[in-house]
C-alpha cells in the first residue's frame, strides 16, 4: 500500500515537472480532433453526391485515420501522436544527460525500474487525457452536425487505444536513444537515427540496385517489396502511416497488434538499458561502450556507402574511380566525425582502429557485392519447376491495351502465362541478352567511336511468380534481334494476347466506354462514342471480333492505321482513383468507377472495325493524304556521320557534343512529286513499333493542314525496307 501511495504521489510530482508537455499535448489534440472535425465536416458537405450516411462514415473514419488516405498521406492524428511520444521521452529522460540531475534522482531511495515506470505512466497520462478529451470534444462536434453515431464512439475509443500503441512505441524508441547516449544532442541524434535510419537505408539499397544491377526493377511501384519494407516498417512513422491507411478499409489491425508487440520489446529493452546504464555515463556521448562501437560501425558503413553513391552519381568520367573515392572519403570523414562526437579530442580523431578496420571491411564487402554482383542478382533465374507463372511485358513491340497508364508491375500481376518451356527459354535469353547489351554499352563507354550493328534495344519486364508465394521482378534491356524468335513465338501465344488485350475476352461490350480515335487524318484524338451512346456496343463487338483474329503475323507485319482509346470498367475496385476509404465508399455508392484507360492499334486487317469507322466518315488510309501535306522536312543523320567521319579523318576537332537537332540541317521537300514519293515510306511516330523496322538514320517532320486554317506537325520514321530514292540522292 505504501509503495502504491509512493508511486502515485511520485507520479503526480513528476507530472507537475512535465506539465508543459501536457499543455502541448492538449493543444495538439484540440487541433487534430475537434478543430479538424469542424473544418472537415464543412469540406465533406461539398463532396458531390454526399449523403448523411457517408458523412457519418467519414466522421467515423476520420477519428482514427485518414478518410482521404492515399499512399503518401500520413494521418495527422497518428503523426501528432508519434511526435508527442518523442517529445515526452526526451523531456522525461533528458535528466540522464546531466550529472547533477542523475545524482539527484539516483540518490533517492527509489529503484530504477520504479523511476522508469513512473516516467512511462506520466507520459501515458500526458497522451491519454488530452487525446480522450479531444476525442470526446470531436464527438460533440459530430453530434452537433448530426454525423455522430454510436459506432463513431467505439471508433473514437479504438482510435485512442491505437494511438496509445504508437505513442508508447515512439516514446520507448526515443527513450532507448536517450538511455544509450550520455549527452542530449547525441540523444536527439540517436532518436533521429532510430526514426530515419531505415528510410535512408532503403533509399541507399534502392539506389545501389539501380546503379549496379542492370536487371533491377523498381519502377514506381515497390511498396510491397522487401526493400520498401525497411522504410515502411523500420520507423514508427512508417508503421503509423501504414496503419492509418489501412484501418479504414478494415485492415491494419494485425499491424497494430504486431506494433504493440514490438512496443513491448522496446519497453523491455529500455528497462534493461536503464538498469544497466551506469550513472557516470552522463556527459559521455554513449552510455555503453560496446553499443557505441556497434553504432559507429553501422553509421560509418552507411555513410560511406552513401558518399560513394553521391560521388559516383554527381561526377562524370571514371564512375568507378569516383565511387571508390566517395567510399574512402566517406569512411574517413564519418569515422572522424563520430570519433569526435564520442571523444571531443582532436588527438583521438583517428583512434578506434579496430572498429575502423571492421567498417572498412564491411564497406568493401557490401560495395563489391553490388559492384560485381557477387550474389548473382542479374543472373537470377529460378528453377523452372519452382515457377508458377513467368509473365512478360514490353511496350515497344506490343502496345498492350491493358491499362496503358498503369505500372508494369500492375500489368505483370494481371497475367498468368504459366511456366512453359517457351517462357523459360525467353527468360534465359533475356538474361544472356541483357549481359551482352551491357558488354556492348561498356565498349561504347570505353571507346566513343565504337559502333555495332546489333540494332534496336528494348526493355522487357518480367515477373517470376514462385510456388513459395514470392514474386520476383526484373527488367531486362536487350537487343531486339537477340530475342526476336522468342517474341515471335510469344505473339502467337493466345494466353499472352488475352492477358495483354482484355478486350478480346470481355463478356459485356457495354463495359467499354468513352471511345476515341487517333489516325493519320488528325493528330488530335477524336471522340467516337460517349459512355451513354449505345451505338458503341456495335463498335466494341466489331473491335473485339477483329482483336480475336490478332496474331503474331499481324503484329509483326502490318502497319497500323490508327489507334483506339477507350475506358474499360473493371469488375473489382482496383482501378478507382485512389484507394482511400472515401473513394471506395463513393465507388460502392456508384459515384466513382473502377476504370482502366486502354488502347489498341487498328490494323489494316481489322475489316469489321474499319468498316464501321468508314461508315462514320473516317477514311483510315494507310498513308497521309498528299493533298494536305504542305511540306516534308527530312533530317538525314547519315550526313552528320559523314561530316563527323570527315572531320576525324582530317584531324578536325569536334568540341561540342553531337546533337542531332543542332547539327543536321533538314532537307525540305515541298514539290508534290517529292511528297508523293516519300509518303508511302513514312510511319507516324504514334503508330510505330520496333516490329516496323524503322530506319534510325532519318527523322521526318511532316506539316499537314488541318481544317482550322493552321498546320499540324507529325513526327515520322522512314521504313527500313522502303527508303525513297529521293532521300538517297
Amino acid at each position: 500500500m505504501k509503495s502504491r501511495t509512493l508511486s502515485f504521489s511520485l507520479m503526480m510530482e513528476t507530472f507537475k515537472r512535465q506539465i508543459w508537455v501536457f499543455a502541448v499535448s492538449c493543444l495538439a489534440y484540440f487541433l487534430v480532433f475537434p478543430v479538424n472535425a469542424v473544418m472537415s465536416i464543412g469540406q465533406w458537405k461539398d463532396i458531390y453526391g454526399v449523403t448523411l450516411e457517408l458523412m457519418q462514415k467519414l466522421f467515423f473514419w476520420s477519428l482514427y485515420g485518414s478518410p482521404y488516405g492515399t499512399a503518401e498521406q500520413l494521418s495527422t492524428i497518428l503523426c501528432v501522436t508519434v511526435l508527442l511520444g518523442i517529445l515526452s521521452a526526451v523531456e522525461g529522460f533528458s535528466y540522464l544527460h546531466s550529472k547533477t540531475k542523475v545524482d539527484f534522482y539516483h540518490s533517492l531511495p527509489i529503484k530504477k525500474e520504479k523511476l522508469f515506470f513512473n516516467q512511462l505512466a506520466v507520459s501515458v497520462m500526458t497522451y491519454l487525457i488530452p487525446a480522450f478529451i479531444g476525442m470526446i470534444l470531436m464527438i460533440g462536434v459530430g453530434a452537433l452536425n448530426n454525423v455522430f453515431t454510436l459506432k463513431a464512439f467505439g471508433g473514437g475509443l479504438a482510435a485512442v487505444l491505437i494511438g496509445l500503441v504508437f505513442y508508447v512505441m515512439s516514446f520507448s524508441l526515443t527513450a532507448l536513444a536517450m538511455l544509450l547516449t550520455g549527452r542530449l544532442l547525441v540523444g536527439v541524434l540517436g532518436t533521429a537515427v532510430f526514426f530515419g535510419y531505415s528510410i535512408l537505408l532503403q533509399q541507399i539499397v534502392i539506389d545501389y540496385c539501380e546503379m549496379f544491377f542492370h536487371n533491377n526493377y523498381t519502377g514506381n511501384e515497390y511498396q510491397r517489396s522487401l526493400i520498401s519494407g525497411m522504410g515502411t516498417y523500420g520507423s514508427p512513422f512508417g508503421i503509423a502511416n501504414y496503419v492509418s491507411q489501412n484501418l479504414n478499409q478494415g485492415n491494419g489491425w494485425l499491424a497494430t497488434i504486431v506494433s504493440a508487440g514490438i512496443t513491448g520489446v522496446f519497453l523491455v529493452l529500455c528497462l534493461f538499458a536503464y538498469r544497466k546504464r551506469p550513472s557516470e555515463a552522463a556527459g559521455s556521448s554513449m552510455a555503453f561502450s560496446k553499443v557505441a562501437v556497434v553504432v559507429k560501425v553501422i553509421l560509418v558503413t552507411t555513410a560511406a556507402l552513401l558518399m560513394g553513391m553521391i560521388a559516383r552519381n554527381v561526377n562524370g568520367g571514371s564512375k568507378d574511380g569516383w565511387f571508390v573515392f566517395g567510399l574512402v572519403f566517406g569512411l574517413l570523414l564519418f569515422h572522424c566525425i563520430i570519433q569526435m562526437i564520442y571523444q571531443p579530442d582532436i588527438r583521438q580523431i583517428l583512434s578506434g582502429k579496430l572498429s575502423f578496420l571492421v567498417t572498412a571491411i564491411l564497406v568493401v564487402a557490401i560495395s563489391c557485392s553490388f559492384r560485381f554482383d557477387l550474389l548473382g542478382y542479374d543472373r537470377y533465374l529460378p528453377e523452372q519447376d519452382e515457377i508458377v507463372n513467368l509473365n512478360v511485358v514490353t511496350d515497344s513491340l506490343f502496345i498492350d491495351s491493358w491499362g496503358m497508364y498503369s505500372e508494369y508491375k500492375q500489368r505483370l500481376d494481371k497475367m498468368e502465362l504459366g511456366n512453359g518451356n517457351e517462357m523459360y527459354q525467353l527468360a534465359k535469353h533475356l538474361i544472356a541478352g541483357s549481359k551482352k547489351y551491357q558488354e556492348e554499352l561498356d565498349k561504347m563507354q570505353e571507346d566513343e567511336t565504337y559502333e555495332n550493328e546489333l540494332g534496336s534495344v528494348l526493355p522487357i519486364y518480367v515477373k517470376y511468380e514462385l510456388k513459395s508465394g514470392r514474386s520476383v521482378y526484373r527488367s531486362y534491356t536487350v537487343y531486339f534481334e537477340d530475342i526476336r524468335e522468342d517474341i515471335e513465338r510469344l505473339s502467337d501465344n493466345e494466353q499472352y494476347l488475352n492477358d495483354l488485350y482484355p478486350i478480346r475476352t470481355i463478356d459485356d461490350p457495354g463495359k467499354v466506354e468513352q471511345i476515341q480515335l487517333t489516325s493519320l487524318e488528325s493528330s488530335v484524338s477524336k471522340e467516337l462514342y460517349t459512355a451513354k451512346d449505345d451505338r458503341r456496343i456495335e463498335f466494341v463487338k466489331a473491335l473485339q471480333k477483329d482483336m480475336q483474329t490478332l496474331n503474331g503475323d499481324i503484329i509483326a507485319n502490318e502497319i497500323p492505321v490508327g489507334r483506339v482509346y477507350y475506358d474499360r470498367v473493371v469488375e473489382d475496385n482496383s482501378y478507382i482513383y485512389n484507394q482511400s476509404a472515401l473513394s471506395i465508399e463513393l465507388y460502392k455508392m456508384g459515384q466513382h468507377s473502377s476504370v482502366t484507360n486502354e488502347m489498341t492499334y487498328i490494323y489494316p486487317s481489322f475489316t469489321n472495325t474499319l468498316a464501321i469507322l468508314k461508315e462514320m466518315g473516317f477514311k483510315m488510309e494507310p498513308q497521309f493524304d498528299p493533298e494536305k501535306i504542305s511540306q516534308i522536312s527530312v533530317y538525314d543523320y547519315r550526313k552528320d556521320s559523314d561530316e563527323y567521319a570527315e572531320q576525324e579523318s582530317t584531324g578536325g576537332v569536334i568540341t561540342e557534343t553531337k546533337d542531332e537537332d543542332d547539327e543536321v540541317e533538314p532537307e525540305i521537300y515541298t514539290e508534290r512529286s517529292d511528297i508523293e514519293e516519300i509518303l508511302p515510306s513514312l510511319i507516324w511516330y504514334d503508330l510505330a513499333s520496333l516490329w516496323d523496322n524503322t530506319n534510325g538514320d532519318f527523322r521526318v517532320e511532316l506539316s499537314m493542314t488541318n481544317g482550322y486554317g493552321t498546320e499540324d506537325t507529325y513526327i515520322c520514321y522512314v521504313r527500313k525496307d522502303r527508303i525513297p530514292h529521293i532521300l538517297n540522292k
Binding site: K2, L6, S9, L10, E13, R17, S98, T100, K101, V102, D103, F104, H106, S107, L108, P109, I110, K111, K112, R275, P278, S279, E280
Partner: protein
C-alpha cells in the same frame, strides 16, 4: 555503520577509487579529506547508491546500498552541486522529498528555513550559491535519515552559517541516531567538527584516525638547547616526524603525548622550550610525509 571493503571504481582508464577499505562508525562526524580528484565525491556517490562499484563491497548497516530502496532510505546525499527542479520553490522541493523520504519532518524544515532566514516561497534559482547550500543541508537534516553524506557542503557558506550548520550537526548527533560524512579538500573546515578523519589520495585511503587521538599523540616543540651533543641526543629520544632549525631555534614535530615529549626535552636542559598543539593541517602534512608522500603535492 558503513563498511567499505576493497572497493574500486574506474572511469575508463582513470582509477577514481582504488582498492579502498574503510569503516565509518555510527554517531560520529566523519571527515573525508583529500585533494581534488582524490576520489572523495566518487566514494560518496557510491555510498549513496548513485554509482556501482566495479569491485569490492559497500554495506550500510549490513546491507548493500546499490539499488536497495530500504538502505538508501537511510541516506541523504547532499551533492556539491545540488539540483533543484526548474523554477521551483523550497516548499515545492520539500513536497517532493516528503513523498520520497517517509520520515521527512516538515515542521523541522519550516523551522530551520525560518532560522536561516530563507524564504520558502522564493524561486530557488534566485538564491545565492550559499543559500542553495543551506537549503540542501536543511533538506538533508529534515529528511531525518540516519546518514547524511555531504560533498563539499561547507564551500560557499560564510563563517557564521558554517558555524550554524556545525551546531546543527552537533545537535542532531546528540538528539538522534545520526552520522554525517563530510567530504572536503579543506582541512581547516573540518577541524572543529570532525571526530574521525579519513585521508584519501589517488583513490586510496592514506589514513583513517580519530582526530583527538591524532592531536593527543603528535605535537610540535620549539626549543633552544645548549649544544650539539644534547640536540643530537634529543632528536634520538623523540619520535621525530619533522625537524627544522632556524638559527639556534629547533622546531620539532614528534609523536607522543605532551607529557612524554616534555620529559624528554627537559632532559636536554633547554634554554627555551614550548610545546604547541598541531592543527589538523599540520598533522596531515606530517603524517603524509611520513607515509612517503610529497606533501606539497597533496594538500594546498
Amino acid at each position: 555503520m558503513i563498511q567499505i571493503r576493497e572497493v574500486s571504481k574506474n572511469f575508463g582508464d582513470v582509477k577514481a577509487v582504488n582498492n579502498l577499505t574503510l569503516d565509518i562508525r555510527e554517531g560520529e562526524v566523519f571527515g573525508l579529506v583529500g585533494t581534488n580528484g582524490a576520489g572523495k565525491s566518487t566514494l560518496l556517490r557510491m555510498l549513496s547508491g548513485i554509482l556501482r562499484q566495479d569491485k569490492g563491497e559497500i554495506q550500510i548497516d549490513g546491507q548493500n546500498v546499490y539499488e536497495a530502496e530500504d538502505t538508501k532510505s537511510k541516506i541523504f546525499y547532499v551533492s556539491d552541486e545540488a539540483y533543484f527542479f526548474a523554477n521551483s520553490t523550497p516548499k515545492e522541493v520539500m513536497q517532493y522529498y516528503v513523498h520520497v523520504y517517509p520520515e521527512f519532518d516538515t515542521g523541522r524544515f519550516h523551522k530551520m528555513m525560518m532560522q536561516f532566514g530563507l524564504d520558502e516561497k522564493r524561486r530557488i534559482h534566485t538564491y545565492s550559491k550559499g543559500m542553495k547550500k543551506q537549503l540542501s543541508v536543511i533538506l538533508g537534516l529534515s529528511a531525518n535519515t540516519k546518514y547524511l553524506l555531504c560533498d563539499e557542503t561547507f564551500d560557499g557558506l560564510d563563517p557564521v552559517m558554517r558555524q550554524a550548520v556545525k551546531s546543527l550537526f552537533a545537535s542532531e548527533i546528540c538528539s538522534r541516531d545520526f552520522t554525517p560524512v563530510i567530504a572536503s579538500h579543506n582541512l581547516r573546515e573540518l577541524e572543529d567538527i570532525c571526530e574521525h578523519v579519513g585521508l584519501l589520495h589517488e583513490g586510496g585511503i592514506l589514513l583513517s584516525k580519530d582526530l583527538e587521538e591524532m592531536k593527543f599523540h603528535i605535537h610540535k616543540v620549539q626549543c633552544v638547547v645548549p649544544d650539539d651533543m644534547r640536540e643530537t641526543q634529543l632528536l634520538k629520544d623523540l619520535e621525530v616526524l619533522q625537524y627544522h632549525r632556524q638559527g639556534s631555534l629547533l622546531m620539532i614535530t614528534a609523536r607522543g603525548t605532551r607529557t612524554e615529549i616534555m620529559q624528554r626535552v627537559e632532559m636536554a636542559e633547554p634554554i627555551f622550550c614550548e610545546v604547541i598543539p598541531l592543527s589538523l593541517e599540520e598533522i596531515f602534512i606530517s603524517e603524509t610525509e611520513v607515509a612517503g608522500y610529497e606533501v606539497k603535492n597533496l594538500i594546498f
